[in-house]
Symmetry: C2
């Protein structure tokens, strides 16, 4: 009864197949939904960062970069774009002048929620053709994935 770590287990055929199909489905799903987001006139990276700010609250630039799995210079430019469009505002940290706290403006919050609305309606219109059981399965899968992703340690390079 030897104990093995996940990384040591040679993936079984079903695992491989599930991983592959999941990957493919995720790519194709996002391609479709992404098109809806274009209507907002804001790029995907900006939209995603804004979404963090709206749903998880204000963050510093570094925190946002970490949350979005992006390097600071990249986030710096994303934030600059959001600021130019007046979707966020920057509050200087009173205690540490190097830091900036970034938070959505009312306009930013509105834009994000409208986008969400649009995306949801689009997706839901298509999910509507599924049976209740299928829909439930998708919801369950999403939950399993999110749970999995939340303790998914990114190996330090």
């Amino acid at each position: 009864m030897t104990k093995v770590k996940p990384e040591d287990i040679a993936p079984r055929a079903e695992t491989i197949a599930a991983a592959d199909r999941l990957h493919s489905a995720a790519i194709h799903l996002l391609r479709r939904v992404r098109k809806q987001d274009e209507a907002s006139g804001v790029g995907p990276a900006q939209l995603s960062a804004l979404s963090v700010l709206v749903f998880a609250g204000p963050r510093t630039l570094g925190e946002l970069a970490t949350a979005e799995q992006v390097k600071p210079p990249t986030m710096s430019r994303i934030v600059a774009g959001l600021k130019r469009s007046r979707l966020i505002e920057i509050i200087r940290d009173p205690g540490d002048k190097r830091r900036m706290h970034i938070r959505p403006t009312a306009k930013g919050t509105r834009l994000l929620q409208e986008g969400r609305q649009r995306r949801i309606e689009y997706l839901a219109a298509h999910l509507g053709s599924l049976t209740a059981s299928e829909l439930a399965q998708l919801g369950a899968a999403a939950d399993i994935l999110e749970k999995l992703l939340s303790n998914w340690q990114v190996s330090p390079l």
Copy 2:
């Protein structure tokens, strides 16, 4: 007994919730997996186009653009990059000199399969912490999604 089209149905709360969680899970999953693909030294758009060529067979540039939901100039550049890296080769159509048939080289096929291997091992190592039941649910969800996506009519603009 009035008949309604999917787009006319106001999405129910569960549908909205499922759509949202699905979208979020897909985004986060792909962010992780994408990192693995970087090891190939080929960008995501090139990798995705190459994958079509390897798994669905040779295609013209226009067909590839359609398959990848991208405009012809974009695909033109993606193909140029793949050619520069000698991952594909171009065969001129004998009957119509405007057309090009694009097919993977042995190197291209190898690179794609190695990438798939790497991605699968990575994903599978993490999926391995799931129970058999959870894994089965993910696989089922992927199938439902792919089925849904395959008859997902993109509304003509």
